[in-house]
Symmetry: C2
Subunit: 397 residues, 2 copies
């Protein structure tokens, strides 16, 4: 628990690329599930809003596979709005006028938090594959160290979609007393065989690129861009629903009236995927892609509790709102139902909403009025239960 920890000096700083940075002293390493040790552990994060005097209004947002800490500010690399800009801000569901919102880059990531592109102090070179393989639990352990550092004992809410949702579930299981409410969104309690299969294709695409150089590409001043782009293209298909692809692209040709009978990007969908692949390599590290996909693949929350998912949540007072999207085939509603069944079996307080959307898995990242209303309603009720001022009261101040 946070309040049991002795005050230990950490290095804090900030920069334009990574936002705020905390570096834990070498005697506070992250010991990973695989027996690895990351020290010094660095965590890059952003905060929005103010922590109240009671320290009771903190929300942790957990990002998805290739997300980062820039949830609600302009992304320093792409110049685009943060990944949850539709959800986080003044008057938005994650209301920065009411809540103190924290979002940190996961361990294994590549935007300031320790990961394979960080310098290994033992060698003076980037870790590469020398970085320990991490799990979702390791990500959450590191986040807990950050939350301690921020002086927050109990989080008002932990929320996130996809891999972020896995972290939400892990938070609730690992630190039940520190999570007042939880929103696992478009996620699953374990990675399925098909989920692992798609991730493995992505990893093989990266590792097939000769510029990957056994993971030591940074030492050689190269990057496996082509392999990483292919990995992203394959993954991107799984983020979109078939009907949305059909509606958006169908068989429309790209800037031409007839097929060229060549291997050019005749179809808009080809052009779109190629763009997605190319844009991705500008903002993401190839080794980090291996690490974050691996963390998802290893995720099987029930396995840590004797095979019983309900056992993972047993006895906790956390309030849950589980959200799925009916066109999400990556983490389909059936996976969310499995979470809900386990929560019901554990006696937890849980509401479950399946949002009607044709946007597929990525629906949680885009403007979906029903999802926004659901989130707003859940947080409002939880805030009341937690004794936080109502939204109108906050705004009147």
């Amino acid at each position: 628990m946070a309040n049991a920890l002795p005050a230990i000096e950490t290095l804090s700083s900030s920069d334009a690329l990574n936002g705020r940075i905390v570096e834990f002293p070498v005697d506070r390493p992250l010991i990973t599930d695989g027996g690895g040790c990351v020290t010094p552990l660095t965590i890059a994060y952003q905060t929005y809003g103010e922590l109240n005097a009671e320290r009771s209004n903190a929300i942790l947002l957990c990002h998805a596979l290739t997300g980062d800490q820039h949830a609600a500010n302009m992304h320093p690399l792409t110049g685009k709005p943060g990944w949850w800009d539709v959800m986080v801000g003044p008057g938005k569901p994650f209301d920065t006028e009411r809540f103190f919102i924290v979002c940190s880059n996961v361990v294994g990531g590549c935007l300031g938090t320790s990961g394979p592109s960080s310098i290994n102090p033992a060698t003076g070179q980037a870790y590469g594959l020398g970085f320990p393989v991490v799990t979702i639990r390791d990500m959450v352990r590191a986040q807990a160290m950050l939350i301690d550092h921020l002086g927050v004992d109990q989080l008002f809410c932990v929320a996130g979609g996809s891999m972020g949702g896995m972290q939400v579930l892990q938070w609730a299981a690992s630190y039940p007393e520190r999570v007042f409410s939880a929103m696992p969104i478009a996620t699953a309690p374990k990675h399925s065989s098909q989920n692992i299969a798609f991730h493995e294709v992505g990893r093989q695409a990266v590792m097939a690129d000769p510029d990957w150089r056994g993971g030591r590409y940074l030492e050689f001043g190269v990057r496996p861009e082509k392999g990483l782009a292919v990995a992203r293209m394959a993954a991107h298909i799984t983020y979109l629903s078939e009907p949305a692809l059909q509606r958006k692209f169908g068989r429309k040709l790209q800037d031409r009236a007839a097929p060229t009978f060549s291997f050019d990007a005749d179809f808009q969908i080809e052009n779109y995927l190629r763009y997605q692949g190319m844009a991705f390599v500008d903002r993401f590290d190839a080794n980090s892609y291996l690490y974050v996909t691996r963390a998802c693949d290893y995720f099987d929350l029930a396995a840590d509790y004797g095979g019983s998912l309900a056992q993972a949540f047993k006895g906790a007072k956390t309030r849950y709102c589980v959200v799925s999207f009916n066109s999400d085939w990556l983490y389909p509603t059936s996976a969310s139902r499995a979470i809900v069944h386990a929560l019901n079996a554990s006696g937890a307080s849980v509401s479950f909403v399946e949002i009607d959307s044709d946007k597929g898995h990525d629906a949680f990242l885009v403007y979906e009025p029903d999802f926004i209303a659901t989130t707003r309603g859940f947080l409002e009720a939880a805030a009341t239960a937690r004794g936080l001022p109502r939204a109108s009261e906050t705004r009147a101040k």
Copy 2:
């Protein structure tokens, strides 16, 4: 029409790898939809059973994306049974004691029929990307030349699954009087946006491999094996249903009791996919993979008939049996229904069966009793209508 063609001398031969081979004289080229010209056109094929005196018992089997002419004999490269061994043979639905069965390697393929790995007579080198991009209609045009060569005017049946099913539809549209009955199986009347997307990922994986060398790898004595393996892995996921993957592999570990916290193939599904990728590169040419995927992407039968699929089939007397599998998410039942609706609108004789199977798209290649019974029943009725002897009569001979 076959009987309108003058007798032209062609070169026939056979070898262990390719089976029978016919080389058309240079003055009988294949002119492709894209305006290309393949000459001499070589077609490699296999036959099973005997053509009857009336020449009325010929069945053309059309293979899928990476299939070949070896439908019912041991594959010369893999040593495994032919790809439709469960369906073709004495007493099997495609009964080699009753029917004269022909299966040819598609144009653009790599097992004896003209394709990008064939020698371009103009250069003395492999065509590479100099081979014309072909369409499903080009494949069917070449097959029609073969069927002419074999002296068959009307095929008793044209059957095939997946890309083979597209050829079946194209045969029925292009040569309605030459197709007495048709079985398009697990297929679609056009490639969807998602279909194109997966194919584009595969092509990009091949082309990202530096050993692809702009398609000229054969000249350099190398092959883009890693890229092609990644392409196959991605495609292979689409051939299997999520429930089948879960049943067969789930999260089972490969020859180990615990995860290794590494990027080894910890999970059986990873090991399986890697094997599929490696095995594929031993039997398939990377450029051919580009060509056959492109042919599928260009397939949109209705587009050739003013956007009306029914128009493609109008006025024909062909009898149809359309088959889909309920767990096939690559070419789902909805795609088969679109075919059936068009056939109904065109006034065709059509039966439609959705087979209950959890095996996904590849169900048409494996032992599925309901599918076998459906095929047997359809062919028996068609044989009666065609005036062919009953199965029992054939066997009594």
